[in-house]
């Protein structure tokens, strides 16, 4: 076998192996999307009921709560950015980070300090490489987050919101995550979680909320209920964001791996064309060598016969 042909054969073999791997990753991601989507659906009743309850308290009573009242001059905002632990997901993490950067720039332009909270190793390494300050970060659960993980993330955030701004607390809480719209579309979104704006909370219930909420009896009191309710609300929103981000990540991985598999297929096709051409060239050369050799031999014997 000629040297050229051998090189092509070797490359085809290695690309085929890579293609097998990316194909497997694509299928794994596809099965995980379904699981993640199911989790999002399972967590929806809780989130809906909780939003309903929060709206009921906030509209049904005149309670002033630090988590619902807008600070007069907000000086510090917390931004929670949700990225993934692992790469191979196309622009998934990069897009979320870009959205967070935009939000940070906007908040800074409004004269607020920004505290960054990060979920996922990709975001942590992005900030670490640029030596930016990260207030707190969590890694290790982005593929399949549980409610306990959401609680872990929400804890310090709620504590920061409840703290006085002068002592390092924050006035606003923003969250940046990738919303799972469909298998093909996932877009990074920026949401303000706190202080709660009731219009957005109401609008989210798309029409179901047009009913007039009755006057509630609060047990033990409206303040206490709100005290207990709001942290749960934040937790459930963060949980929902984590689940959507996980589903989006798997969808992004599937798409990235699908195009990698397609590209590997293309590469194999063009490489085998080249290999065939090289083999054909080799055969042609051999034939012409044999023909040339034979005629030279014939010429030589014809001459000696004379």
């Amino acid at each position: 076998m000629g040297a050229q042909l051998r090189v092509y054969k070797r490359r085809i073999k290695s690309v085929t192996a890579t293609k097998k791997i990316t194909k497997a990753m694509e299928m794994i991601a596809a099965s995980r999307i379904v699981k993640a989507q199911r989790q999002v659906a399972a967590s929806t009743p809780y989130a809906t009921e909780l939003t309903r309850a929060v709206t009921a308290v906030a509209t049904g009573s005149n309670t002033k709560h630090p988590l619902t009242t807008e600070a007069e001059s907000p000086v510090r905002a917390a931004v929670l950015l949700i990225t993934s632990d692992r790469g191979l997901a196309g622009g998934y993490s990069a897009n979320a980070i870009k959205a967070a950067e935009q939000l940070t720039a906007r908040l800074k332009a409004e004269g607020k300090e920004v505290d960054s909270y990060i979920v996922g190793r990709k975001g942590v390494s992005y900030y670490g490489f640029r030596e930016r300050k990260v207030t707190e970060s969590w890694t290790g659960f982005t593929d399949s987050p549980t409610y306990a993980d959401a609680k872990k993330v929400a804890g310090p955030l709620i504590a920061a919101v409840q703290q006085d701004t002068a002592e390092g607390g924050v006035d606003e809480l923003h969250i940046v995550f990738t919303e799972f719209i469909s298998m093909l579309t996932q877009t990074p979104v920026q949401n303000r979680l706190l202080p709660l704006s009731l219009e957005t909370a109401t609008a989210e219930e798309n029409g179901a909320k047009t009913e007039i909420l009755p006057l509630f009896d609060f047990e033990p009191s409206a303040e206490d209920v709100l005290d207990a309710l709001l942290p749960r609300y934040v937790e459930s929103r963060i949980y929902n964001a984590l689940l959507q981000a996980a589903a989006s990540k798997h969808a992004a991985t599937r798409r990235a791996m699908k195009s990698a598999t397609d590209n590997a297929g293309e590469l194999i096709k063009s490489l085998s064309r080249l290999a065939n051409a090289a083999r054909q060239a080799e055969i042609t050369q051999e034939i012409s060598e044999i023909v040339g050799g034979a005629s030279a031999l014939a010429d030589a014997t014809a001459g000696s016969d004379k």
Binding site: Q39, A42, S43, P45, Y46, E49, L50, R52, A53, A56, V57, T146, Y147, K151, L213, P214, L215, F216, D217, F218, E219, P220, D224, V225, A228, L229, R232, E235, S236, Y239
Partner: protein
């Protein structure tokens, strides 16, 4: 047939139970409360503990007991929602395992785990 109210029992990650009931007894931070159809709109904070739901099926009355670990009760328009971070039906709870967990929590002096196991055992006892 007695009047009924619709009950939705949801935990953070799943819907645990839903159906019609004639009476729901739960413990809020200010004491036990029983909710029957037509109750005044209510929103309360739940203590960890068993919640008893009296159901009425055509075959007869039944009881569903649930171990609820913190959460809320809200009632409006004859619809009762029980929201809990963790909720388990008493039938799902393995009493022996809960007892073992209680022993272990006591020896490790893990207050949270001890409380959890205690709530489970109380729910099983009510059943």
């Amino acid at each position: 047939m007695a009047a009924e109210l619709h009950v939705e029992l949801v935990a953070a990650d799943r819907q645990v139970w839903s159906g019609e009931a004639t009476l729901v007894v739960a413990r809020t931070t200010s004491g036990d409360i029983g909710v029957m159809p037509g109750h005044q709109p209510l929103l309360g904070v739940l203590e960890s503990g068993p919640v008893t739901i009296r159901t009425s099926t055509p075959e007869g009355a039944g009881t569903v007991v649930v171990a609820v670990h913190g959460g809320f009760i809200s009632f409006a328009d004859n619809k009762l929602s029980l929201l809990a971070e963790i909720a388990e039906l008493a039938d799902e709870i393995d009493a022996q395992r809960a007892e073992r967990a209680l022993e272990r929590a006591k020896s490790d002096s893990d207050a949270a785990a001890e409380r959890r196991a205690d709530v489970r055992l109380r729910a099983v006892a009510v059943r």
